[in-house]
Symmetry: D2
Subunit: 477 residues, 4 copies
Amino acid sequence: MYDTIHEECGVFGVFNKELNNDENIAATVYYGLYALQHRGQEGCGIVVNDDGVFSSYKDLGLVSDVFSNDTLKSLGQGSMAIGHVRYSTTGGNNRTNVQPIEVHHIKGSLAIAHNGNLTNAMKLREDMELTGSIFHTTSDTETIAYTIVKERLTTSSIESAVEVALHKMEGAYSLIIMSATKLIAARDRRGMRPLCYGVTEDGSYIVASESCALNAVGATFVRDILPGEILVFSKEGIQSITTHCGRAEKALCIFEYIYFARSDSNIDGVSVQAARLKAGRCLAKSHPVDADIVIGVPDSGLDAALGFAEESGIPYGIGFVKNKYIGRTFISPTQSARENQVRIKLNPIESMVNGKRVVLIDDSIVRGTTSARIVKLLKEAGAIEVHMRISAPPFLNPCYYGTDVDTKENLIANNHSIEEIAEIIGVDSLGYLTIEDAASLAEGSHCLACFTGEYPTTIPSEPAKFRFEQKLSETKS
Amino acid sequence: MYDTIHEECGVFGVFNKELNNDENIAATVYYGLYALQHRGQEGCGIVVNDDGVFSSYKDLGLVSDVFSNDTLKSLGQGSMAIGHVRYSTTGGNNRTNVQPIEVHHIKGSLAIAHNGNLTNAMKLREDMELTGSIFHTTSDTETIAYTIVKERLTTSSIESAVEVALHKMEGAYSLIIMSATKLIAARDRRGMRPLCYGVTEDGSYIVASESCALNAVGATFVRDILPGEILVFSKEGIQSITTHCGRAEKALCIFEYIYFARSDSNIDGVSVQAARLKAGRCLAKSHPVDADIVIGVPDSGLDAALGFAEESGIPYGIGFVKNKYIGRTFISPTQSARENQVRIKLNPIESMVNGKRVVLIDDSIVRGTTSARIVKLLKEAGAIEVHMRISAPPFLNPCYYGTDVDTKENLIANNHSIEEIAEIIGVDSLGYLTIEDAASLAEGSHCLACFTGEYPTTIPSEPAKFRFEQKLSETKS
Amino acid sequence: MYDTIHEECGVFGVFNKELNNDENIAATVYYGLYALQHRGQEGCGIVVNDDGVFSSYKDLGLVSDVFSNDTLKSLGQGSMAIGHVRYSTTGGNNRTNVQPIEVHHIKGSLAIAHNGNLTNAMKLREDMELTGSIFHTTSDTETIAYTIVKERLTTSSIESAVEVALHKMEGAYSLIIMSATKLIAARDRRGMRPLCYGVTEDGSYIVASESCALNAVGATFVRDILPGEILVFSKEGIQSITTHCGRAEKALCIFEYIYFARSDSNIDGVSVQAARLKAGRCLAKSHPVDADIVIGVPDSGLDAALGFAEESGIPYGIGFVKNKYIGRTFISPTQSARENQVRIKLNPIESMVNGKRVVLIDDSIVRGTTSARIVKLLKEAGAIEVHMRISAPPFLNPCYYGTDVDTKENLIANNHSIEEIAEIIGVDSLGYLTIEDAASLAEGSHCLACFTGEYPTTIPSEPAKFRFEQKLSETKS
Amino acid sequence: MYDTIHEECGVFGVFNKELNNDENIAATVYYGLYALQHRGQEGCGIVVNDDGVFSSYKDLGLVSDVFSNDTLKSLGQGSMAIGHVRYSTTGGNNRTNVQPIEVHHIKGSLAIAHNGNLTNAMKLREDMELTGSIFHTTSDTETIAYTIVKERLTTSSIESAVEVALHKMEGAYSLIIMSATKLIAARDRRGMRPLCYGVTEDGSYIVASESCALNAVGATFVRDILPGEILVFSKEGIQSITTHCGRAEKALCIFEYIYFARSDSNIDGVSVQAARLKAGRCLAKSHPVDADIVIGVPDSGLDAALGFAEESGIPYGIGFVKNKYIGRTFISPTQSARENQVRIKLNPIESMVNGKRVVLIDDSIVRGTTSARIVKLLKEAGAIEVHMRISAPPFLNPCYYGTDVDTKENLIANNHSIEEIAEIIGVDSLGYLTIEDAASLAEGSHCLACFTGEYPTTIPSEPAKFRFEQKLSETKS
């Protein structure tokens, strides 16, 4: 298991307001998903809407592996399309969970792409099952879809159905919903996951998890979807609905700024890179150290390292080469080779660090194994001191909102003091970002629950282990 | 488009009565599907049931392409498993329609494999949609699954739910249904599609579309599932339910004997090969001819040719070599090559036919194109006369029960007299099996609707074109 | 290891006498190789000659796997092309041995496709190595190429070089050689392997191992290449050279008729199917038996079975279904499954054999394992007696001419009497074709060395194990 | 065509001095090639030597695509192994040119991996062809191999043969040669391409193009192979031969420092990163500018940008995000998308550059197209001025030593003044590294011919277009 934290998804949608059919609409989604690939590498999919007829292609794998010119062409033309990238969990054949999911009901078809995690999905699902609903997957996105469709039977429009359905949902979600005639973007009332939209030169609207995907398709950023907002794109124009769910304090996941998002994105008015530079500057103030050079662990530690260098006056250095050819198929034929993997992926530049006191910036320590290996490499390359600074507070609590910050047992900071961690990973000093500094990286209020344990929502009383993943013989009956 | 008729599916299931887990249960299904591959080459899938937890793998392609040792192992051990092969339709990415389908509901999970076609699926589906049901596919198997699950909410057992549900279904179906603890085999009241079961030396029960799949896994044939029977395999033993659906005259598809089934299978007590030999003998009586040799178009015409030879006293010959390396990836880089394809697939043996008056036996003429090419090859190889005999009556009507016998327009016999057809395909004489002879190939009553137009059920008033495959702009509103 | 004998290669060539470039010349070779696929399934290749510039594509695998429309197109147009299929040996990555081989020398380029085996290749190679020649492969085809090129330096034409070179070669070879401007077909002085040519409607010449490949591309058979003949196709026309090598008695491999060749081919004036029918008739005379039915093991035993039936008056039956979907990727997850493989590949038709005394015809018994399993299946299906008749004499000696008839140790007939073999494979009686009957299957003299031990050439004193496949530590001195 | 310069190859070898067989020797080469992948992405190969028996695997593609655990295991154990990565040229199926090449001769086998380009390969090859040598490929590596083997016939050892052979070769080469018992590393007399060696903890010797590959396998750098040195690894130890070729002034390709090599490598005693930092500092002195921020084009421009920032006092910035998921399979379904590709691969970070005067550092301008697009992106992101600085002098002359610096026509600097180039690519100012500064980046003398036209060797009078790539109809006489 690789020793890091993962985001769970990225979403992307296109709405062509002229409703003239675009032959390349699948290609536009393809490029958007490319730019969001860092949000999920397990699987991806695209659904194209040609006047109410949906064509889709989904599979496990990277965007570049799943889609070929032929598969894109097979999706045909359309005036709307949505896409999804999904994080790479362990284990085999969960192709049925790849999104967007599509469902068919009496009033038409619906496709949904979802980033986030509901905290009451289990309850909502059980309620529907008790009245006869039948599920095909184990994903909470199917629960969202079914809830919307149920409401559609008694409401006059898809947006009304979405409005009522979202009112019932708790937790984190950034959604793109495509009906026969409308594209709908929605963000949970706390805005826990990012979502924004823009417009292209030819007037198409683009909705995406991050602004970097707007850039990738040449669209101009318009604004972020607001927490609690439903934005409806139809031939009548754009309609914003904000009355459907009770107000709540904004709680964007702070780790979007620290690690998940791409540094060229802007989220809720704040540049991700700027937030990372600030994290570095904060660390320089809260954990100053006398050193010769500041280096970041590529790629995610580089911005904070530059901020630390600027604030501290210690020169910024480029201390590692990251092998850019390591693919998912990288193999480890031997045990010794497995231990050497960090070296193959990441090599320190001796001429930069030899004989120097090094400040090393990374964005997190999960289990500590990878950090220890990186520090060992630096010392072997001649670094005489290594002072590690982490651009986030220590992980102490699990996340229920769509990331894989895990149970307490696997988080090193839960079981060890900072001094112990420093000793385990072999550094001369170790400093984490303070909670206060983390909260200040961007304007507004944020979710810092994985650091503080203060969850913005009620949390599930027990892990959401579904019935059908339990053996009969384990079930109390 | 290749000029032939296709069956739509094959089903296979294993139930280990000891409920001890079998590591190789997926391999057993794999071998069974291999033996049923002739019933469908589009896609295939296997679902393994390990004490209520289902693991599945499905994809487009042949059994040998879809499954590897790794994928079989990933399905793990289990005490039950079902599998499905599906016929290769044209067109792209219909991976979601690959079976078995799996659904999850309040009382557990269900997997279903289906061979046949409901004639009232559209009506059943609409009724459920009006009460809020949400569908993921366009397949009538999903409709069957949902109907069963709906009934499960108000019945005390899965078999009772199946009983009530099947009572509502019209048309042709041979089903294998797997719940957490039971394997259920069911055949429509007319027994339109075959289904049988057997037992292995270690006491596992095997259910399969054809007895050849029992042989493939070393199982001993026990008996055919009866028309209208539900057979329940559980740890309590085997239970037969036959009271659920009104009686109807048996109507097994006669084309199972003529073409679809493998000649080493026995269906409803009759050997498929024996039926084909009889068809050949009937042809020799009803359409005798003075000739030197009788040859069959491989592979499906060989048995009837042998029957014709035996009855007529004209020597049986082996007249063609069929290239056994032609795969699905066979390509046609040039137009002239495309025209030569029949020659590349099938080459007459000149020393066998040169200078001879040939009786040529095939199982059907659909559009006539392929027959014309084969006859041309024989004449080029020196045959001085070619007398074609078809081991079925002429196709005149579409099939609504799970084969692709098409609309009237594409069937040559609808637009031409037998004399005209003989001229089009270039034969010196042409004779079809009579309706009476067809009816007599096997004991019992059969469906001959594609020849006679006398359908055993009501038929759909309009083609079952689903809403979500129609564009909005084509919908009357 | 599968229990059968393999041919080693098939060759195919096209020469367009107008020298106008043909865009589809690679496609023509592709179809020709398809028809020769039974002669070799390990690998294949095509080389196209566009006015002296050679383009080639070769790989391990079946023709349908190796070539796609794209690879065929990438070979471009040309006025000549040759191709090769190679038999599937065990073991891994011998891609360098895939033919045709291409070499470049001071007077141009040369491509060669070879079927057969030299008996003095080791000696020829060592002689050239002593004068500095450098080899890239372990194949005797490279030795042939180098020998020709060496002679080319001191002769005035490529055909003269071929003439001198072939004079030095002993053993079996059917060659197609392509220079910048000429296509040359050559057959060893004994004609041990088949080779013939034909002409297409548009005037292209086709050279092929078997006439079935001429049929596949719509060419008309002209004649077989004569033993010891070199046939040169150039813009000047066709030139036959027959003076280069001493005369020798013709010795076509009799097993080409018995098993290797496709039954729709004619070799040296004799229909392969006719020879097989004759083998069956001979068996009926030499080993008569009182029985109810004659069946052949598909596909190679069917013709001889028909011949036996005709001669004996015992009815011919179709006794097995061979699964036509078993590909090279067929897997055996379990030991018991491996034992069941014969059953999965080949299933007896119970209604045909039950209660009958069966004559079973096959073309050979190598180790006996497969035969024993087939007999067991027949008895399980109810056959009350099984009388096996083999359409060849017993294998007693290794082949040095391009097949894999192995060392004596693995040949069951070397270690057991016919009675013992009958007992081992479980038959009620066993009869082989006599040597005399084998010799009479086709006109002319044949090589029967694998049966008689009378080799038409001197044979290598020791196995041709090349230096570079021996470890240094095993080398003396 | 992508608008950049490419290196042609990387070489790697392992010699286990204990001659005990290492099961993981192929894995060691695999990791080494991973670290050298930047030197060539077209194809790669590994040859393992097990006591004189060579096993090899080679194919087109990246190391991660070509090798799997299975292929590595199939190479078996050995005490020596060599590997090669090759640059991706255009065009199809040149699998035969993938290295290492292997040849077999009377005294054994030889495998060779080569980085560089001979300038007299054509002459050497023709001389050998005139005495009968036969070539299989169009690569000059085959010429090297043949020359060595020819000499081997008249010398007492492989190293003596290498000594005599290399004396005849002109141009650039870094070679690793493997015989049955020895591993030989050799570098041309001018040391035009890098080559070094190191030792692992368990005493194996490693030879590699760059020291970063030593790090990747945990080996300690010992020293660079000297210009004109032959280093022989055998069970007798290490022998250095330096007397075989006339002395010449050292002429390491300066572009190894500027672009080709990985920045964590040391070549001939100089850190590649240090040379790049120096190039940046030189640019700051020779082409100063008043600006707000210095950014590099990732990845190769980052080090020089840091050097420029340090020297100029202008803050260093991280100005771009490079999409790390763009693979070789990246597709461009539409024309407009093709134009957008730079944006998808490289996105400027608006918050970093908006409103700023930017110094943009890149390592070269070839055709100018890519540079123009990058500048346009920066201006769109709000940069108010863009001052481009190139960490190399302008390309004016083709390279004959193993890179693809092309004919004069395609090099923008040959057809335009610096002012014109600045206008074409849209920058406010443009400055190149001076020749003098380039010469001073590392100690010692270097080849700067692509900038100065002063070639260290005689150059070929005409392009090395081989006979067999010319059509007959184009040949004079």
